[in-house]
């Protein structure tokens, strides 16, 4: 077969500039902030209502109440029971979602533009006059408990849960899933949900984000009409300083019969407003955020140990985890873990080569317009401004902040943020087949733990 007649990589044309769309912000008298992002070409509208009612707003005795509250909201209003509410929304082509994370809760929908106003009316009815009835509460609670069982049967999800559990000190809420544990969810009552909803779901901390072919006036008028006389909503989130449960250690979670081991390595990371945010994002991508990252190249493309390896920071209002992850075949578990630890450790030795830095940084800068090609992507982009109070020009200056990250910044971030003497190294796999090799690898004190 003859070679292509064009052996040389083509030269790129002139880039067409891209600007993040302008947004308009307006606060109603009751405290609710309306953010409108005009995307004139969009075929759909995205509406996100955020409140300060995430897991950080619940006390530990009621862990999971934030998630259950958010889920229970879609089971109807005083006027419409669960079935009628589902039908009323879905006949408009709308599927309402309602969920919570650590830092906020979000009720949201996407619709064709002609149904957006009706959708906002139903969303408002849902958060203002929720039904919160006993039958649906019992059902969703049982589903949540069963989902925890299901998650623990999945080795990847089990490893994620166990990593958090063993990483954080018992005093740190982040040591459990944001949706709670079987013990705390099992103890929740309908009254807990009603109290949480009445306290934390209100305009005082609420943000309504509307993205799509919508004029700011229309969004504000809709907000006034359906949410203008809504009341309540106290700031919810607690402040805490996450602490680690221990220093460098290896933990095996036995899962007999596993043909792979799910590996996790990491420790405490950074918070969302950290001045190291941008260097940390580039560092995470160099380690395990792009296909050509150090972990993926070595573990997958050189050794064939895994289908993929990744690493990165998970910044929250308080410092969340830094972690690396891979699922590797059982026989190479100890070697793979050693490789991961070595690669993470060596990032502290020297600044990255300019070519490596360019590859990763240029990706993060260049992919910017792709991230916002959907109205959903645009609406989500507004959330950290609303939740964490990032500056209004955050997205306008985002690429400059990334471009400013130099090789020395990566080295300094690596030395401060990657701490081998703090590594929690976790393996979910067949202990009878991986334990002796992990012992021989001598990566740190080792413990065999139970999966609960």
């Amino acid at each position: 077969m003859p070679a292509t007649v064009n052996p040389l990589r083509p030269v790129a044309g002139a880039p067409r500039p891209y600007h993040f769309p302008d947004f308009h912000r307006h606060q109603l008298a009751n405290g609710l902030t309306v953010w409108t992002v005009r995307v004139p070409s969009a075929a759909v509208v995205n509406v996100h209502l955020l409140v300060d009612a995430g897991a950080a707003a619940e006390d530990e005795a009621h862990a999971g109440v934030a998630a259950l509250t958010a889920q229970l909201l879609v089971t109807g209003t005083r006027r419409l029971d669960a079935g009628a509410f589902a039908e009323a929304t879905e006949r408009l082509g709308i599927e309402v979602s309602s969920e919570s994370s650590w830092d906020s809760a979000r009720a949201a929908f996407q619709s064709l533009p002609e149904h957006a106003d009706d959708g906002i009316a139903l969303l408002a009815e849902m958060v203002r006059e929720p039904r919160l009835d006993e039958g649906e509460f019992d059902r969703l609670k049982a589903e949540r408990l069963a989902d925890i069982l299901q998650a623990r049967a999945d080795p990847g999800r089990l490893a994620d849960e166990m990593f958090l559990h063993h990483l954080f000190d018992a005093s740190t809420p982040y040591g459990r899933l944001s949706a709670g544990t079987p013990e705390t969810v099992g103890a929740l009552t309908l009254q807990d949900v009603r109290t949480f909803q009445a306290t934390h779901w209100g305009p005082g901390t609420a943000h309504l984000i509307v993205a799509g072919p919508v004029e700011p006036d229309m969004a504000v008028q809709a907000a006034e009409r359906y949410l203008g006389d809504w009341t309540g909503g106290r700031p919810g989130h607690r402040t805490f300083t996450p602490k680690a449960a221990g220093a460098r250690r290896v933990i095996i979670i036995d899962r007999p019969g596993s043909v792979q081991s799910e590996l996790r390595v990491g420790h405490l990371g950074i918070d969302r407003r950290s001045p190291r945010y941008f260097p940390a994002m580039v560092l995470g991508a160099i380690l395990g955020g792009v296909f050509g990252s150090r972990l993926n190249l070595r573990l997958r493309e050189e050794l064939g140990y895994t289908y993929g390896a990744r690493a990165g920071f998970d910044p929250r209002r308080a410092p969340g985890p830094f972690s690396a992850a891979a699922a590797v075949q059982t026989e190479v578990t100890a070697d793979a873990l050693k490789e991961m630890v070595d690669l993470l450790t060596r990032v502290r030795d020297a600044a990255p080569e300019e070519s490596e830095l360019h590859e990763v940084r240029d990706y993060l800068v260049g992919v910017f317009p792709l991230r916002f090609e959907t109205t959903g992507g645009v609406a989500i982009a507004m959330e950290p401004l609303a939740v964490f109070g990032l500056a209004d020009d955050y997205w306008q200056t985002y690429r400059q902040h990334l471009e400013a990250v130099q090789a020395d910044d990566i080295l300094s971030a690596a030395r401060d943020l990657v701490m081998p003497d703090q590594f929690l190294m976790l393996a979910v796999g067949d202990a009878s087949k991986i334990r002796s090799a992990l012992e021989a690898a001598n990566l740190g004190p080792m413990e065999l733990a139970q999966a609960d």
């Binding site: 077969m1 064009n6 790129a12 044309g13 079935g83 649906e136 049982a142 069982l149 289908y307």
Partner: protein, 429 residues
């Protein structure tokens, strides 16, 4: 209703080219469908089409191993590829001024993959793919469901019988000679569709396509399509029980059904959505919410074209609910819809959900390009991207009832039940 602009071309070497312009953002998608999937695999080489797809990222004459990903990502692009029963697709989304990079990379591996192939690269990607299989199938609760369904719905003589991921044994047997033969047979411009969608200058894009793909010769000996003909019905009721490391029983129900692209496929897509899409769907509202027998439900037809397709449902039992009880309830819902047909309100509900879902999917330029390639590759009709919604909306209650009666019958049904194992399950080697 979507109104996606479409312009079709064909190069002298047979490459079908679809252009779809949209300059609302400075991004462009490059998408190639090769008319080769796991249904083209030979006995003893299951999983090869997918392993081959991995080899397409291992470099070509002017591109080093790893460089394909590196160049696209450094340009600010995203990329991937996937292999399924009917086809293999390769795709990049790029800032629009990097369009030619995507075209060049795709053309280089189509023109000159083999000089870059080595035993070491094949052995490496074989291990990667075996780990992909362990991760997605062998070490995953309920992970064998689709290969078990395919093995029952299609006889051994039909190439949908085996899964795209393949068997460990066959992956171990794959050789460099296989790579060479597969490439020479199927990777030719006259066996592919190239779609460029998004922000580009039409004349410049066409010139680039001609420059990079034009010199690549056609394969004048493309093999005829495999014989996928098969009786429309299984002809008997099939059952399988699997003991797995799962906490809750799960029931899968699968039927042999008419292929993607047929009117009956649209009818059964509507039936599927009435049963399974949204909280007002029949299975969610009755089995999950009202009777609380199921933890979750899911229903979907497979969009495949090889003689027959599969209509598939699953439901996970709530703790304390027996698999038998759930199966009875599930089948009763199917029977009831088949007997009564959907109501006008149900048809209105799924029509609006479907229209919104299509608009939402088509927001992504990569999705638009992929669907254009799909309709061009499978039906030689990229224009179907704009008519699929009206085809779907044209389905009425009578058509749903008739298609369900024809297809969702006991003598055309597999019930596959996963039950929690008492002791740890020995994995297949």
């Amino acid at each position: 209703m979507p109104d996606i602009p479409i312009e079709r071309h064909r190069l002298d070497n047979g490459l079908r080219v679809v252009l779809s312009h949209d300059d609302s953002a400075p991004i462009v998608a490059v998408n190639l469908w090769y008319d080769v999937g796991s249904k083209h695999e030979k006995p003893g080489r299951t999983g090869f089409a997918h392993l081959f797809e991995h080899m397409m990222f291992q470099g070509s004459e002017h591109v080093d191993k790893g460089e394909h990903f590196a160049l696209v990502q450094q340009a600010g692009g995203t990329l991937n590829a996937s292999t399924w029963l009917d086809r293999t697709n390769y795709f990049e989304t790029l800032p629009s001024h990097e369009l030619e990079l995507g075209l060049w990379l795709e053309s280089d591996r189509l023109a000159s993959l083999l000089p870059a192939m080595t035993q070491e690269k094949l052995d490496n990607q074989r291990e990667v793919v075996k780990n992909e299989r362990r991760w997605s199938v062998d070490n995953q609760p309920y992970g064998t469901w689709d290969e078990r369904i395919q093995a029952k719905i299609f006889p051994e003589s039909h190439t949908y019988h085996h899964p795209t991921i393949g068997s460990m044994e066959d992956l171990n047997a794959a050789s460099l000679e296989d790579v060479g033969e597969f490439f020479a047979t199927y990777y030719a411009p006259n066996n592919a569709v190239l779609t460029v969608a998004g922000d580009f200058d039409r004349d410049a894009a066409l010139a680039m396509v001609e420059r990079h793909f034009g010199p690549i010769p056609a394969n004048d000996n493309l093999p005829p399509p495999p014989d996928m003909s098969i009786s429309p019905l299984i002809g008997e009721a099939l059952r399988e029980e699997v003991a797995d490391r799962v906490p809750l029983p799960r029931i899968y129900v699968a039927y042999r059904m008419p292929i993607f692209g047929s009117d009956a496929f649209d009818d059964l897509s509507v039936a599927s959505d009435i049963l399974g899409v949204g909280r007002a769907s029949r299975l969610y509202s009755r089995l999950v919410r009202e009777r609380q027998l199921a933890q979750d439900v899911s229903v979907f037809p497979f969009p495949i074209v090889g003689g027959a397709s599969m209509f598939t449902l699953w439901a996970t039992a709530k703790p304390g609910v027996g698999a038998d009880q759930l199966e009875t309830a599930l089948l009763a819902e199917i029977d009831q819809l088949a007997a009564e047909g959907p109501t006008a309100v149900e048809l209105e509900r799924i029509a609006n959900l479907h229209a919104a879902a299509v608009e939402s999917s088509l927001e992504r330029i990569a999705e638009r390009a992929d669907r254009l390639s799909m309709y061009a590759c499978l039906f030689d009709q990229p224009e179907r991207i704009n008519t699929e919604v009206s085809r779907y909306l044209a389905v009425d209650a009578d058509r749903v009832r008739r298609a369900m009666a024809d297809t969702l019958r006991p003598d055309n049904r597999l019930v596959l039940t996963y039950l929690p194992a008492e002791a740890p399950v020995e994995e297949a080697a």
